[in-house]
């Protein structure tokens, strides 16, 4: 609440800074803006920036460092008998102090009650100090910037430079987030490979991620061979591509070459709706409709079909990625220059000859790119396989058996109460890293192919 008020006050000061700067700039040139190097608004923005940015930085800094600062100060003020405890006990005590102070929990001892009072007063003091510093900075910045306005001040250039910095920051957020994710995957994976050798993880054919909670437990050894998981992933993704590539490609050919514009304008968006259906919906469609259907069909043909077969998951996933294939293929087929088609027609080629022998070969790189993107989507897809593919890590190429995938295993490894330093949990990071590497490579290859193709006709 206090923080909200402080922020509002700072923003109000910034607004005042803008109008002050604007008015001052006009006053400097006696109301003739043509004499100014920059527009009055730019002077206003510059004053506002000077007023707002340092003060808000102070507030952000307070938000960032408050918890650790409070922690250190409260701990150091604890009575000696509490302060000498082990780190883990100490962090429990600190949690209790916070609960007493913030949530009104009854203190277990006088020392804790005292620490809680100390915590609250410290917090109040720190916030007060921050607020004062921020307000002083805001007012000082406003006054300083206002005082420096003169007709040749290059306010526009400075404002634009600040804007550039904001743009750069906005664009690097995504990059740094990605780097952060990769690094966290990498470090947790390294911890995992401390328990399980890389070679066993990559080439082992048994997967049963059971680790003993106590060292003397029966069956305390787990197996972390990821081969069955990757085989299962590839099997399901393969089935999905077998479904999606012909259907997607043929529908793209129909849409771009044969369909009447009116039909196309109705059907194409509908096809793209497929891409908008939440994957969890596909998941229960696969688990509740397709899987029983395939099992019953198999039974009537005399085949043994697992109730959670790779086929069911693959089929539904194939339907899901049809829009990726068809939409991208449609784009690249439409991008094949009309002159090539006319060239073929001019030689007496029929429509189908033209499409088969001229249009598709010309569009092939783009189509391959689209298929690879769809493949990477299929490999990374989680929800459908969690619901429909099962958990048994079978190493099999039979689509009628149950298999499991990398993504399913990551989910099961992390769902529920887990110790975050057991190999079982860390295995999820190693799997994630491997999966990330594969999809990244596929995407990179796909984009490379697509770009290479684009250069050719533009």
């Amino acid at each position: 609440m206090q923080l909200l008020i402080l922020t509002v006050v700072l923003l109000a000061l910034t607004g005042i800074g803008f109008s002050t700067g604007r008015r001052r700039a006009l006053a400097v040139v006696e109301g003739n803006p043509r004499l100014l190097h920059s527009l009055p608004n730019h002077h206003g923005y510059l004053v506002a920036l000077w007023c707002g940015i340092p003060a808000l930085l102070v507030v952000v800094g307070w938000l960032a460092f408050e918890p650790s600062l409070l922690h250190a100060l409260v701990i150091s003020a604890l009575p000696p008998e509490l302060a000498e405890m082990s780190d883990e006990r100490l962090s429990l005590v600190y949690n209790e102090v916070r609960n007493v102070a913030l949530n009104g929990q009854t203190a277990g001892s006088d020392a804790v009650a005292e620490a809680a009072r100390h915590y609250l007063s410290l917090r109040q003091t720190l916030f007060g100090a921050t607020a004062v510093v921020a307000l002083v900075l805001a007012v000082a910045g406003l006054a300083w910037a206002r005082g420096h306005i003169h007709r040749d001040l290059r306010a526009r250039n400075r404002v634009e430079r600040v804007v550039t910095v904001f743009l750069v920051m906005a664009s690097t957020v995504a990059i740094f987030t990605t780097i952060g994710i990769v690094l966290s995957l990498l470090f947790e994976s390294l911890r995992f490979f401390h328990f399980v050798p890389v070679s066993e993880f990559l080439f082992g054919t048994a997967w049963s991620p059971q680790m003993a909670i106590r060292s003397d437990q029966v069956g305390s050894s787990g197996a972390f061979g990821a081969v069955p998981l990757f085989a299962g992933t590839m099997l399901i993704a393969g089935i999905a591509l077998v479904v999606a590539v012909p259907l997607g490609l043929l529908s793209a050919i129909y849409m771009s070459e044969y369909a009447l514009p009116r039909f196309r304008s109705v059907v194409k968006p509908m096809l793209e709706i497929l891409a908008g259906i939440p994957t969890v919906v596909y998941g229960f469609f696969a688990a509740l409709t397709v899987a029983p259907f395939i099992r019953d069909l198999g039974t009537s043909l005399g085949l043994t079909v697992a109730s959670e077969s790779a086929l069911a998951a693959g089929l539904v996933m194939g339907i899901m990625i049809i829009p990726f294939v068809s939409s991208l293929s449609d784009d690249v087929i439409s991008a094949v220059p009309q002159s090539l088609r006319e060239g073929a027609y001019g030689l007496g080629a029929t429509k189908s000859e033209t499409i088969k022998q001229v249009v598709i070969p010309a569009a092939l790189p783009g189509i391959v790119g689209g298929v690879l993107l769809a493949a990477s989507r299929a490999i990374g897809e989680t929800m459908i396989v969690v619901m429909a593919a099962g958990l048994a890590a079978n190493l099999t190429a039979n689509p009628l058996e149950a298999v499991t995938t990398v993504t399913t295993q990551i989910v099961t490894l992390l769902v529920g109460d887990q110790e975050f330093d057991s190999p079982k949990t860390l295995a999820a990071f190693a799997l994630g890293l491997a999966l990330f590497t594969i999809t990244l490579a596929l995407n990179a290859v796909a984009l490379h192919i697509v770009n290479k193709y684009r250069e050719k006709y533009d």
Binding site: G343, A344, Y345, G346, L347
Partner: protein, 263 residues
């Protein structure tokens, strides 16, 4: 040399003959009641300002206008006396008899050999590989391209220079063995040297094929054609021997166009 050929040509031998040919694109009346005979064994140039209907007329002859949405053709257009727009006529066979070369060179993204062999293959013109090889070589030879590409037949057609690509497209059209070759501004994307080569080629091809060429360049029309037809706003204004058109035009509009007063 033109006069010599003209002298030996059988008179009144119209290869393609249009009678009150009209084309509508939706509301637009692109071609209005055109009567025009294209004679065998000579080059006919179609000239006129942009949008005058000359390309539309050209594209009627091999029914490329079929693919334009909303295009409607009326009147009669015959090839060797048989109606091009007859319902019974197979457009694929028509296009085997009437080849086309486009404004922008459009080789297929295939090897040079496969570009030439494409037409013969889809029409089943060669009984075996040797015969196909021969067709490809002859076509390249006739298009004056053989010497330049004979060592690189497996390279992509798109790797050639613009002028070579256009001659490849001409060779591709010849390979099907057409009787008529339509050229839609074949040199507008080429530099002057490549243009000169293509014009030379057109002159060589004249003996064996009936050629109709649309061009914006009046010098080109004067250089390569024996007859010239001038179109304006969808109407055929004047058709005559090329020399006549450029030295002594009968219509004031033609006079104005060739002297550069409009266009």
């Amino acid at each position: 040399m033109n006069s010599q050929v003209t002298a030996h040509r059988p008179q009144g031998c119209a290869k393609v003959s249009a009678r009150s040919l009209s084309v509508h694109y939706g509301e637009k009346h692109a071609l209005q009641a055109v009567d025009l005979d294209i004679r065998a064994g000579e080059v006919t140039a179609l000239i006129g300002p942009s949008g005058c209907g000359k390309s539309t007329f050209l594209r009627c002859i091999n029914r490329m206008n079929d693919m334009v949405e909303g295009a409607k053709v009326s009147g009669s257009l015959t090839l060797d006396g048989s109606d091009i727009y007859d319902r019974a006529l197979d457009v694929v066979q028509l296009r085997a008899r009437v080849g086309m070369v486009f404004q922008k060179p459009n080789p297929f993204p295939k090897s040079i050999y496969d570009n030439i062999a494409y037409g013969p293959r889809i029409h089943g013109l060669a009984r075996d590989q040797n015969e196909l090889d021969e067709i490809v070589m002859t076509s390249l030879e006739r298009a004056g391209l053989l010497a330049e590409v004979k060592d690189r037949l497996t390279e992509s057609g798109t790797s050639l220079s613009g002028g070579q690509q256009q001659r490849l497209c001409i060779a591709r059209a010849i390979a099907v063995g057409p009787e008529v070759i339509l050229m839609d501004e074949p040199c507008s994307a080429l530099d002057p040297i490549a243009t000169a080569k293509v014009e030379e080629l057109i002159d060589d091809l004249r003996e064996n094929y009936t050629i109709v060429i649309v061009t914006h360049s009046m010098q080109q029309a004067a250089r390569v054609s024996q007859r010239t037809a001038f179109f304006h706003l969808g109407k055929l204004i004047e058709v005559s021997d090329t020399e006549q058109i450029f030295t002594n035009p009968q219509q004031p509009l033609t006079q104005g166009y060739i002297t550069g007063r409009f266009g």
